[in-house]
């Protein structure tokens, strides 16, 4: 495989075309050596289309400084792979998995194809154990389960990074477990400040030696972003399913990933579907998000916490929309709550955890958890009706019940949702706050709580 081809026949955005290649295969990785004006430069590329002896190659580092004559191309004969060992914890890598912390390469015989393979549904184990984050809105209403993929839908300027950092700090598996959580952090096109913020947070909490960091910053090559989450998840799968660790993967920001996909797609001249994104955006997202879960015969788990910023705060935009269809729920941050100085500004109504129902209740959290959560959701939904009415006829004209709902709504946001950045609430505290808030409402309004549970808990608070 040491044949090297000199020259290219076409360069178009992040894509180059090479003709006259022999024995190239689809999805293979190639190495470029570019003799640029400032000396030799190495780049990596992936074959994304191939016709007889003509290969279309996507260049991860971008095509700057490449010309039709100055480039040597070498086939590697294999798809994108990374070397893995437990040593990756505590290390920092670039977007394609090369160490950038000057401690030297990862030496290991274990190499894995970063594209991953679909998990066989019969070999999966249904996730049931919850992860306590110490944040009431999440633990109480959108419970995070080990092995779940639960994205944070955010917007520019909202404190999603702070929230993710708080989850990392406080996340403990169930109380009696001494298993440690390891973190795989992948940044796609984020600002250097953000990457720095996370690194500082890890440092302050002395978890840095439990974290593997993969960085593709905003000024790093765009196409490289397409491979970053795959590299990070390959590392996560290795740590979870082969080393038996509990892995939490933070992917930020998925919007940059989708943008990069759109850019490459349009360079390829593909037919766009919605808002210019390629028709396979769903499949591409799925190939990332589905790499979470628990499998038979392994103690480990991969839990995903992707962060995405909704363009223009629009939840129906293709990126959050397609994500919501694949992930097992979502945590939605809200600008209006942020404006009222509520942290974390989680809007619980559109937020959801699909795996919650099987991971809470007696034996997991507390028997009244589901009922309290249902009642809080249903009552808080009524609050928006009451608010809408109040804005038309004025608060004074509201019926007594509606006034109670307004009071409940305010208290819910200020006491239940809102908490300190360092406040780590137990699940009992969260549910107790929930009950005390429900006392604001007339008892007959509590129609979602089973009569028995109501009798047992109502008068305790």
């Amino acid at each position: 495989m040491s044949v090297s081809y000199l020259g290219l026949s076409e360069i178009n955005g992040p894509l180059v075309v090479l003709e006259g290649v022999e024995n190239a295969s689809f999805d293979e990785i190639v190495e470029f050596t570019v003799e640029g004006i400032y000396g030799k430069e190495k780049k990596l590329g992936r074959i994304i289309e191939i016709y007889e002896d003509k290969a279309v190659i996507q260049v991860f580092e971008g095509t700057e400084s490449m010309s039709l004559t100055n480039t040597h191309t070498k086939l590697t004969g294999h798809p994108m792979e990374i070397a893995l060992s437990e040593e990756i914890l505590g290390r920092t890598f670039d977007g394609v998995g090369r160490p950038i912390d000057n401690i030297g390469p990862i030496v290991s015989d274990i190499k894995r194809d970063v594209n991953g393979k679909p998990l066989n549904p019969t070999e999966r184990e249904y996730p049931r154990n919850y992860i306590r984050t110490g944040i009431s809105a999440i633990d109480g209403l959108v419970t995070l389960i080990r092995g779940q993929k639960l994205p944070i839908f955010s917007g520019n300027g909202l404190p999603h990074d702070k929230l993710a950092a708080q989850i990392v700090k406080q996340a403990s598996l169930s109380e009696d477990s001494d298993e440690e959580l390891v973190i795989v952090f992948a940044a796609m096109g984020v600002k250097a400040d953000v990457a720095d913020f996370f690194r500082r947070t890890f440092e302050e909490n002395r978890v840095l030696d439990h974290v593997a960091i993969f960085l593709n910053l905003a000024n790093d090559p765009v196409v490289e972003r397409l491979i970053t989450p795959k590299v990070a998840l390959t590392a996560a799968e290795y740590l979870a399913f082969e080393c038996g660790k509990q892995v939490l993967v933070i992917l930020t920001d998925m919007t940059s990933y989708a943008e990069a996909l759109r850019e490459v797609s349009s360079s390829k001249g593909e037919i766009p579907s919605r808002k210019g994104y390629p028709g396979y955006l769903y499949s591409e997202f799925a190939s990332i998000y589905e790499r979470a879960g628990i499998v038979n015969n392994s103690k480990g788990s991969v839990t995903q916490l992707p962060i995405l910023s909704m363009p223009n705060d629009d939840i129906t935009h293709p990126i959050p929309d397609l994500t919501g269809y694949i992930t097992e729920g979502q945590i939605v941050l809200d600008r209006a709550l942020q404006g009222q100085n509520i942290y974390p500004p989680i809007n619980v109504l559109p937020s959801l955890s699909r795996l919650m129902k099987d991971g809470i209740g007696a034996g997991f959290t507390r028997e009244d958890h589901q009922d309290v959560a249902n009642q809080l959701f249903s009552s808080y939904a009524r609050v928006s009706d009451a608010r809408a009415l109040a804005s038309v006829i004025g608060e004074d004209e509201l019926s007594l019940t509606d006034k109670k709902y307004l009071e409940f709504g305010k208290a819910f946001e200020e006491q239940f949702v809102s908490q300190e950045e360092y406040e780590n609430r137990t699940i009992e505290t969260t549910l107790d706050i929930g009950w005390s808030l429900l006392h604001i409402l007339p008892k007959e309004e509590l129609d979602r709580i089973d009569t028995k549970i109501l009798e047992k808990y109502y008068n305790r608070y």
């Binding site: 269809y325 939904a381 019926s399």
Partner: protein, 589 residues
Amino acid sequence: MEKTGKIYGINGPVIYIKGKTDFIMGEMVYVSEERLVGEVISLTTKMTTIQVYEDTMGLKPGDMVYGTNQALFVTLAPGILHNIFDGIERPLKSIAEDSNSVYINRGISVDALDKNKKWDTTMQVKVGDTVFPGTVIAHVPETKSIIHKVMVPPGTVGVVSEIKEDGAYTIDEEIVVLTLDDGTKKSLTMTQIWPIRVPRPVNARQSVTKPLVTGQRILDTLFPIAKGGTACVPGGFGTGKTMTQHQIAKWSDADIIVYIGCGERGNEMTQVLEDFSKLPDPKTGNTLMDRTTLIANTSNMPVAAREASIYTGITLAEYYRDMGYHVAIMADSTSRWAEALRELSGRLEEMPAEEGFPAYMASKLSAFYERAGYFENLNGTEGSVSIIGAVSPQGGDFSEPVTQNTKRFVRCFWGLDKSLAYARHFPAIHWLTSYSEYAGDLTKWYEDYVGEDFVKCRNKILAILNTESNLQEIVKLIGQDVLPDDQKLTLEIAKVIRLGFLQQNAFHKDDTCVPLKKQLKMMQIILYLYEKCKELIGMNMPMSILKSEDIFERIIAIKYDVPNDKLKMFADYKIAIDNFYNKIMETNA
């Protein structure tokens, strides 16, 4: 001679062969030495196009493509039930065992059905019998719940000349030999193969007259689906499409369930597999898996197989229908299937129609939904295939092409509503946007088998809900206090209907599935309360006095407080309403 071709180009799941080839449109092919399964999707003199059902990573130009002379088919024989397959009928459990991996590797060749297992077989014909297509030649207890009826394949007529004793046979062993009209012999095994894109033949389509009873109040009562009917469940993410499908798969009175997870979450399929292996079938008491087959093509599996999974599912369903069973298909979700079409169409650089979807999407959708129906089978038995398809509209917007085109071909529309889901009102099927065209067809059945006033009650309930929505418009502007008392009563009763009747708790042991008789009794008692309150209001009693009693809350709690097998308790509630009436009369008259 084996037909072959050489790969010229590769673009994602699509590969090209240059020049004129002998392949047939729709032919199944094997690609490269790894023998990845593919299908021929377009032919010109210059180029043959093939879609590959597995990941094409590592393929090279020059790799061979082998023809099979057969359209993409499924294997039909005992062993389908209590099993989980991928989109092209490869059993996932065997894949896991063979590859000894938690992942699905490529190019795995496993038999669709177990060829070594011996099935207890009881012959149903004897030497000298003339048999026709569909004639049942043997019975095999496939699971505890279902007898698999081995049939003569379509297109075969003959006289039984040899027959094996009753006993244990594999699916490939010859069990019957026929002498055909032209004197040639033909041996029959338990196995049939059938191309997935061709509907299996029937004698005649019949009109639908029986409901598919689901135990879900809002479906059975307000928007019923017939056996052999089609329904779609559209809704944005988190509105409960999958939950609705699970509930129907668990509790409906179909004999067989085919559950197609098309481009959905892996954990969901695992959940179905775990739950259904434990939960008892309400009809037989055996596990639900005994009457279920799962087709799992999760969102990260190859996109072309996602497109095929829907057809694989419906072909399996038709096969069981031919035996005289009532089959219900859950297709979750048809939008993913449409997107797979779009993705492949995009790779082929076809001219897109609306939102990038190919123009032929509508005709493909209609061809799929038309395979549902209530039929007289070739062997004279009756069977049905009902399709319940989930639709995942982009942005939850029902005006997008998949929802709109689906609406044209289904007769039942169960629209899921975001605001109901946000308030955790489940099932979040909205009573104003949903409809069922079967309500009229099924009136007679409901009147004959449930109760004469069932349909009347249903219509009254619907009318109250409609009035409520009009009143709510006013309430939104001026508040509830200024309404006259009779309108306040309508709102109150509508609330009782919404909370006490429409809302149903899937996690409550009694409420998860409710028999029709109880549904009727619940409607009657709510309407009785309405009548009595109307009388009181007519005598100028204000709503505040009526509300001071807890009768409304008690009626709402009926769904939890009255077990499904103690319907006599409804008499107590009638008495309670009478007492409430009398008490108000005494204290306030």
